[in-house]
Symmetry: C2
Subunit: 481 residues, 2 copies
């Protein structure tokens, strides 16, 4: 046994000998320096150990590797960009698992411009896909903070969301075809998209969002949209979250097909952004209980009238007293500056000090009441805390932070008060018919909370399907269920 | 044993005694006259027997009934409007199964106008839903020939398609929430829609399209769209299927977001319609190799410019020599008259004489080449036959009929030549990467063909999930897998 990062000596394991023979030096390593960076999740919350790091070159090599693992009873932890939020790609501490990187399988196999789709291997980085689509006059309409590291395989396996779900849906809606290696090493191959196919229930949909516990995604055929020819980003100040919801309904009724994002931030978060990033300039002079970022886009068909339509939409919103103030981005630089403020909120909030964070959703129409009801409740139950919410109001999904009282010992606070607060938030979300994981998945972070609060009927279905497809329990053990 | 329609005497069965006590006289019958109409599918291809017909009043009653069936080992065959195309709701001939009608559970529990959704019980008839949505200024954007009988439960269980899939997707894309009774009687309840929810893989999606073999759909929350404020139906004549495809790409590029239907019919089908329905008047004077029906719609936001945009779109199509001739509907009466011709094609084709029919799909872009390649091939291999295709070119889904040679004995021809032709068509579809069931499902009609031609990996997954969720094999046995 080596002592760094939990590596074991390759020579001591018949499995590793076979794996090394199969994958070669480039495809398998036990070098602690090479492996260590991938044993801790990017937020530093989870650290595990692994018997080796495998990086197969292609699907067939991975298939053979998975068969080998099945024969030797070696658990497998698949990993893409290691930028997940829930520890779903970090192995446990036993050191028995093989850490499986899909990053070497990073070819964009094809982009079909006419049909609007791309076939990507699991290791393709989201930003790379954005650039490749852009070069064809198209776009892949999903983006998120980790786009520089997040991979297609990870995005599919976690059914990633982001800021464009309002109009385009999450990954589930964008995956037209899928290829995956199953727990017994067989290759599930449905990359060729059929718009209509009713040969039984949809196995693609079963694998999407399964966090690697049912199969290892190796490639996906993804839907592309026409490139954005024009966009207007609107910044509005409103008096309350219900007012923000009323504005959303107004915008949706007028420009539903062009409305791509609807994000809310409280004044406190804007203040935090200005503290954190002094160069940031809030678009509105005044202070407002809530700030709203609205993205409206058009492809070539509606580009010439977009700005005028947005002006009319916001003029009507003023007339209906839905907004206190509003500004439209005058150009792309300003549009990006507006977005920068929104995108800086998470970091700015983290910089304010220790907090527990929750990625939650409730039915879209219930979100304003949920925040207005539960935030004062939590602040009363946990004196000195501050509960703030920001994010995707249009999806009924906010990031809900409860900030610690001034100057506690962050680690100790998190372990005691923080844990109690999270339980309480999850209880409340469940009471309101919501989800304790809106877009970040369950991973190992929320596995126990899902077991505690999930619908027993749904949990028993999840477990039955897992048992049926992975009877040895070798795929990403300890995650999700 | 009684001798009509395979009923058994209730007094002879402890199960039926218990079921009668549970459901009461309105909920359970063994009266052959009441049961017989539901033992044969509407096309008269399949006839089965059943031990009784159960019509529970609500989900809890159904749950108790399913528990009872599980205890007694009684198979259950769920049925909605009995208007399926694949015998998926017809019991086998053993008479052991309970025929389960969901038609009594027919409440529209709620329509939420603001959020654009309806919660319907399984027995709600599609046309009833259309009317209810219409009364709220909304619409449910899925329709098909059987709308007067097809029920929400059946539509969900078969992932029904129809003529608006091009823009709105099939049922899979329109189900926001689902309630179902599982094989052990437990109730899976996810009717409250969450736009983002990543608590494991999507169990709703597993039940949609599962043809009642994994669970019995009892209710669904469905997506509604703004009502259509204006529509234009365009009839175009083109020289070939590739020309039709080029026209589709043109329309999609110009009016993609308004393009709701793109249907093709060969001249022979138009002739058949005129023979069958002499009052029908084809919109174009001349003859064309292929006729195309294009539906373009707008809600209130684009209604005023729709006609002008359609005129421009078709003017450009003329300039690019994509069409030989075209006519735009001048009003709603004419729009309906155009659609009547399209909707009469199946009946007109059936009236031409014996034929074998196939509901198939291939990748959208491959459909023109598929038809042009395989039709002459089939006509050569089976002398005297005529292969014709019509339908949803925009979805890569056509209804592919092979018409028998003149004056054969229809029944004998179907059993011998017809069967050989269907195998050949399915072989060809499979070679082209397509599906032997685009929108009608597998049921009992195509079960053996799916077993013969389906991807063994996918089949083993389907079977493993079925075994895991229904270990007794009591839900809709003999269907799908």
């Amino acid at each position: 046994m080596c002592h760094i990062a939990g590596m074991i000596d390759a020579a001591s394991s018949p499995f590793l000998e076979d794996a090394a023979a199969l994958l070669g030096a480039r495809g398998l390593t036990t070098d602690p320096e090479l492996v260590a960076p991938w044993l801790t999740d990017w937020r530093g919350r989870f650290t595990g150990r692994a018997c080796a790091l495998a990086s197969p070159a292609d699907t067939m090599e991975l298939s053979a590797l998975v068969r080998l693992c099945a024969r030797h009873g070696v658990p497998i932890v698949p990993q893409g960009g290691n930028s997940g939020m829930s520890g779903g790609a970090t192995p446990d501490e036993s050191g028995t698992a093989l850490l499986l990187s899909l990053r070497r399988m990073n070819a964009i196999r094809a982009i079909d411009r006419e049909s609007g789709r791309a076939t990507c291997e699991a290791g393709v980085i989201l930003q790379t896909l954005h650039e490749a689509a852009d070069a064809e006059g198209l776009r892949f309409p999903l983006t998120l903070g980790g786009k520089g590291s997040a991979t297609v395989g990870g995005l599919v396996s976690t059914n990633a969301g982001g800021c464009q779900v309002l109009r385009h849906g999450s990954m589930r809606a964008l995956v037209l075809g899928l290829e995956a290696v199953l727990p017994d090493g067989q290759v599930f191959s449905q990359l060729t998209p059929l718009k209509k196919d009713n040969r039984g229930f949809d196995l693609k949909q079963l694998l999407i969002g399964s966090e690697g516990v049912l199969g290892i995604v190796t490639a996906a055929t993804l839907k592309l949209e026409p490139a954005v020819a024009e966009r207007v980003v609107i910044w509005a100040g409103v008096s309350s979250l219900p007012a923000a919801r009323a504005l959303l309904l107004h915008c949706d009724a007028v420009e539903g097909r062009s409305l791509e994002g609807f994000e809310v931030m409280p004044q406190a978060s804007i203040d935090a952004v200005v503290d954190h990033l002094p160069s940031a300039r809030p678009p509105l002079e005044g202070r407002h209980a809530w700030h709203v970022l609205i993205e409206v886009v058009a492809d070539h068909t509606g580009a010439d009238t977009l700005r005028e339509r947005c002006e009319t939409m916001m003029g009507d919103a003023f007339d209906k007293e839905l907004v206190e103030d509003a500004a439209l981005s005058a150009n792309e630089t300003q549009a990006e500056a507006f977005w920068l403020i929104r995108e800086t909120v998470p970091a700015a909030e983290r910089a304010r000090g220790p907090a527990v964070q929750h990625d939650i959703s409730v039915p879209v129409e219930a979100m304003p009441a949920f925040v207005e009801t539960t935030a004062p409740m939590l602040e009363a139950e946990f004196p000195g805390t501050e509960a703030i919410a920001f994010g995707h109001l249009g999806d009924g999904n906010v990031h809900y932070h409860v900030i610690a009282p001034q100057a506690p010992d962050a680690r100790a606070w998190n372990a005691t008060q923080g844990k109690a607060i999270s339980r309480r938030v999850h209880d409340l979300v469940t009471e309101w018919g919501g989800s304790i994981s809106a877009e970040h998945g369950i991973g190992q972070l929320k596995r126990d909370e899902l077991a505690r609060l999930g619908d027993p009927v749904a949990l028993s279905m999840l477990r039955a399907v897992k048992q049926a497809l992975d009877p040895q329990g070798l795929l990403n053990p300890g995650k999700l269920i």
